[in-house]
């Protein structure tokens, strides 16, 4: 299992110290969760507008253009394991 970083949009969370994370599944529907800063990478703090960022994931399986990854916390819609486009997963 390898730790990777998955592209996402990051906004303020419901509590200070947590962030709202929204990303795209392989089928182009959205997944979302609340995550801690240590599991995220972004340049500017979100301030009312989502910023581009990445979330730490564990890569479980990769086939062609699809990757199965484990999120640090379960997504609200889909649980902890999601299939995403391989191009959105990076070192």
């Amino acid at each position: 299992m390898q730790t990777k970083w998955l592209e996402c949009k990051i906004s303020e969370g419901m509590f200070t110290g947590e962030y709202q994370v929204v990303g795209k599944l392989y089928n182009q529907t959205a997944f979302s969760l609340f995550a801690e800063k240590e599991d995220l990478k972004f340049e500017a703090e979100p301030d009312g507008t989502p910023v581009d960022g990445k979330i730490r994931v564990v890569l479980l399986e990769q086939k062609e253009d699809r990757s199965l990854v484990a999120l640090p916390q379960p997504a609200l819609e889909n649980g902890a394991y999601i299939t995403v486009p391989s191009e959105s997963v990076a070192e």
Partner: protein, 196 residues
């Protein structure tokens, strides 16, 4: 297996359980009788910030695609509590809150690993206060403050002050190896399923 207070202390010392700030004192004394450790639980405190869901003309439908977190964040209001300005939770009202302590159940090292369950405290329950009503489980590998789903089912308003003991944590040992296992998604075709 549920850990006793001495086993909880040992888990804290070994780094198998991390609670920050670490609850003190570990044993009551004459000078400090308020010990957060009971026979097999550790009390946690209410944090300064709460989140109040706002009502509106919308329906939550998890079957529809979209970002559920955006909906939750958009339809809620943050409030900072102080000892001078506690929050009055009226009967039948629902809020989200968090524990002041950050809890971590590391998956590093050799098993057995730990899991936990957050529960209310009987003194608060007698007033009708639920501090969680559906999601008590803290999974192995979790790290963060624990979110409380609080509702007042009692007949009177309940004042919530930051730092008050609000919940208790029960620590359990998980037997067996834990591993994310892609094979469990065999033959599934949903976005969360195994890649075929």
């Amino acid at each position: 297996m549920i850990l006793s207070n001495t086993e909880i202390h040992a888990a804290l010392d070994a780094g198998r359980l991390i609670i920050h700030p670490q609850p003190t004192p570990r044993t009551p004394t004459i000078g400090n009788p308020n010990c957060p450790f009971d026979a097999h639980t550790v009390d946690l405190r209410l944090d300064h910030e709460i989140c109040i869901p706002t009502s509106g003309l919308f329906t939550i439908d998890l079957t529809q695609p979209g970002s559920f977190s955006e909906h939750l964040a958009k339809h809620s209001e943050k409030r900072i509590l102080t000892s001078d300005q506690p929050y009055r939770l009226d009967p039948k009202k629902f809020i989200l809150a968090q524990t002041m302590e950050r809890v971590e159940l590391p998956l590093q090292g050799e098993p057995p690993y730990l899991a936990a369950r957050i529960e209310g405290k009987s003194s608060r329950a007698r007033c009708g206060l639920l501090i969680h009503f559906t999601a008590p489980t803290v999974h192995p590998g979790f790290k963060g403050k624990l979110t409380l789903e609080m509702i007042n089912l009692g007949p009177a308003a309940f004042l919530l002050s930051p730092g008050m003991y609000i919940a208790q944590l029960i620590i359990e040992q998980v037997t067996g190896q834990i591993a994310p296992n892609p094979s469990q998604f065999q033959d599934q075709s949903s976005p969360t399923g195994k890649i075929k």
